[in-house]
Symmetry: C2
Subunit: 423 residues, 2 copies
């Protein structure tokens, strides 16, 4: 028969296995972030190339294709290191499905690039393809962030995921703004898209800042020169507030593109810092858990396992506070007699605390999910564009004085009363 | 290099491993439910025994002790079958910690029973000890319910957990009411406790009904004779509405106890039905997932894995709807060419749907957690009893026209601004 202490030791070993997997996951997340960054650069240069009818950025794009391919090889190698045996990884079913999707997308990259080489696809279509692949890669990171059972690790993963998602919104903002400047005139639909992208990225960056370590946050706060930041905001203002159909200065195209690119590169530095912090944290947690396991195993070796300690029998059904009061100064050695019980109380307390912290961190991941889902529902049900669905919900939130996520929840609960065909 | 299809197959294998674990978990839950039922009977008889100064229920109690011990042996054997290797079970860290706690409690049972034999403990103290152990057992079931990744299985587990929790509230209601009738007079504190227990059990039973299968729900609806139900409600009314300190008819003690016991036994029948439904469902899901794996492996065998199917390259970045439109009637055999892509889209759709369903089911588990946590905070911070904390939150909910869970969330978010020492 296995004793309570057996299970306590087993629980600690599971915790170590979980942490080891998290350490591996954070390497996967790091490589995925590199892949996304390369694809964002490739997408930007592809836009310049297609937008100029092949006149600009051709050599730079070819150079980037080599870099992207090298990173792709690294990412595939990283996928190969994963233990794909059943029960090899928690959340394997979801994570592996996401990876399968990404691998199919990577397989299709050469065909996409050929279409671009021959200028058969226009810039929006090529952009859409890259957006799709990046979204698939972000979903891999999301699954990783969603499974962390350690609240501190989960905190950094959620921070990193939001930062990466925010960076992708910046990339899409660059493409949208560049298209407007290149066309030389403002367009109301594009303007709405731009405003949604700016708002979404700000939400992501808020969550990032809430959960990042202070050093990374400081790095982020000082990552852009005040001059460049002001310049970008000025161009944003022009893009967002010009009258629909009104003229835009085509000459700004380059400074917009370069400014956004500088911002993306600065974000990449912060992302690398955060990714490093994540890996360091995993290592530290792992070392700590191993120490705790050593302690547990020492108690296990000392206690006569087969016999139930009589004091445990007598004290299990007492309040811990009562016990403290009864024995304010515990004689040396009695620790072992009551060892298991103390360990149990400590563990129960720790579990409770961890769970509460984890709930807080995960809540922000969930909010994002709920809002996206409600948006999707509005788009499908009312035939709205993403922009319009977003604006509708924001308007409802403002009118009702509620948070966006509360409106989203209301929208989703409404879904159950919709006729099945419309859902 | 592993292909996308490799990972798709791996994902399905993980799903099967998860389901196999769920099947094992549902056996564990079933045995835990039996243990709880025996402890509830033992607690009831212990109350009668202690309340009558040892005059009543002595033989019945001895009989029940034998039954409890037999079930305890079965439960320990069931714990022994669990794979306690690291990564042997998802959520191992939490589940094993809960089991460790339960095992310590079971170890302490003989000492508790000895105190009862000698009538050294009074009824409330013995009741408290049994309540503590049952709570530990329910926590094991909670961890099981919290990890199910299949929404249908999760639905039944959440239903079962709530039913078990509701049944435990009925057991505590029996003890509280019996103590009042035995004392022969009403007591305001006990009355409040009674009302909280009735309200809490009704909430649990609502969640149970929301998530149970129709057959089990029907069984529950017809589980008590109308006569007995009316009889119980009449005694509840007398208990809850008598003036503080006013007389209660001691002679009702037996009918109260027997009526509640009949209710608990009826609940046990429903619980067994639900537990059986859970195991049947796991088996069905497992068989289905195995079929799906067979299909996947057949595709894998047929496709030339090393070469990327050219059509995949061309079609990955298309909308699925566009593809459907392009090939409304697919020629036989083309399935394989586009096989992986179709499978991916189906899988992505399935994952999304499963996640949405799972979120809905889990939300009810979370609400419970949030309310309990807020209650605990009020108790600690304002030095309130459980009853008063509950009533305070209900009052706030009624005044503000909000749901109890919303008030609980508000209470918890308030916690962050409390001085650290008071938290």
């Amino acid at each position: 028969m296995k004793t309570g202490l057996c299970f306590l030791v087993a629980a600690k070993r599971c915790e170590i296995a979980d942490l080891r997997q998290l350490a591996q996951t954070s390497v996967l997340v790091d490589t995925t972030a590199r892949m996304i960054h390369d694809l964002q650069r490739e997408r930007g240069l592809t836009n310049l190339f297609l937008g100029s009818g092949g006149a600009h950025a051709s050599a730079l794009r070819q150079e980037q294709l080599l870099a992207s391919t090298a990173t792709e090889t690294a990412l595939r190698a990283c996928f190969d290191t994963l233990n794909i045996e059943p029960q090899g990884m928690t959340n394997g079913a979801r994570l592996f499905s996401r990876i399968a999707y990404v691998l199919q997308g990577l397989d299709a990259l050469p065909a996409l690039r050929k279409q671009v080489d021959r200028q058969r696809w226009d810039a929006p279509r090529a952009t859409g393809a890259y957006v799709q692949l990046v979204a698939g890669l972000l979903a891999v990171v999301f699954e990783a962030a969603d499974t962390a059972t350690d609240p501190d690790v989960s905190r950094l993963l959620v921070s990193l995921f939001n930062f990466m998602q925010g960076k992708e919104f910046v990339g899409q903002e660059r493409a949208t703004g560049a298209a407007m400047f290149a066309a030389g005139r403002a367009d109301a639909r594009q303007q709405q898209r731009l405003m949604r992208l700016i708002e979404s990225q700000e939400q992501c960056l808020e969550v990032f800042a809430d959960f990042a370590d202070p050093e990374t946050r400081a790095l982020w706060d000082n990552s852009l020169s005040a001059h460049l930041a002001a310049e970008l905001e000025r161009m944003r203002r022009v893009l967002c507030t010009s009258v629909d159909g009104g003229p835009l200065n085509k000459a700004w195209s380059t400074s917009w593109f370069d400014g956004c690119s500088a911002r993306i590169d600065a974000m990449r530095t912060v992302e690398m810092r955060l990714s490093l912090a994540l890996q360091t944290l995993c290592d530290r947690k792992l070392a700590q858990a191993r120490l705790e396991l050593d302690n547990l195993e020492r108690v296990q070796a000392t206690l006569n396992e087969s016999a139930v300690a009589p004091e445990t029998q007598a004290t299990f059904f007492e309040e811990p506070e009562t016990l403290e009061a009864q024995a304010p100064v515990r004689p040396l050695g009695s620790q072992l007699d009551r060892g298991v019980l103390d360990l149990l109380h400590a563990q129960a307390h720790r579990l409770q605390k961890m769970e509460e912290e984890l709930d807080t961190v995960r809540a922000s991941l969930n909010e994002r999910k709920v809002i996206e889902r409600a948006k999707g529902l509005l788009m499908a049900h009312r035939q709205l564009s993403e922009e319009d669905a977003h604006r509708t919900m924001r308007q409802m939130a403002m009118n009702q004085g509620r948070r966006l996520v509360e409106v989203a929840e209301a929208v989703l609960s409404m879904a159950e009363v919709l006729p099945a065909r419309l859902r």
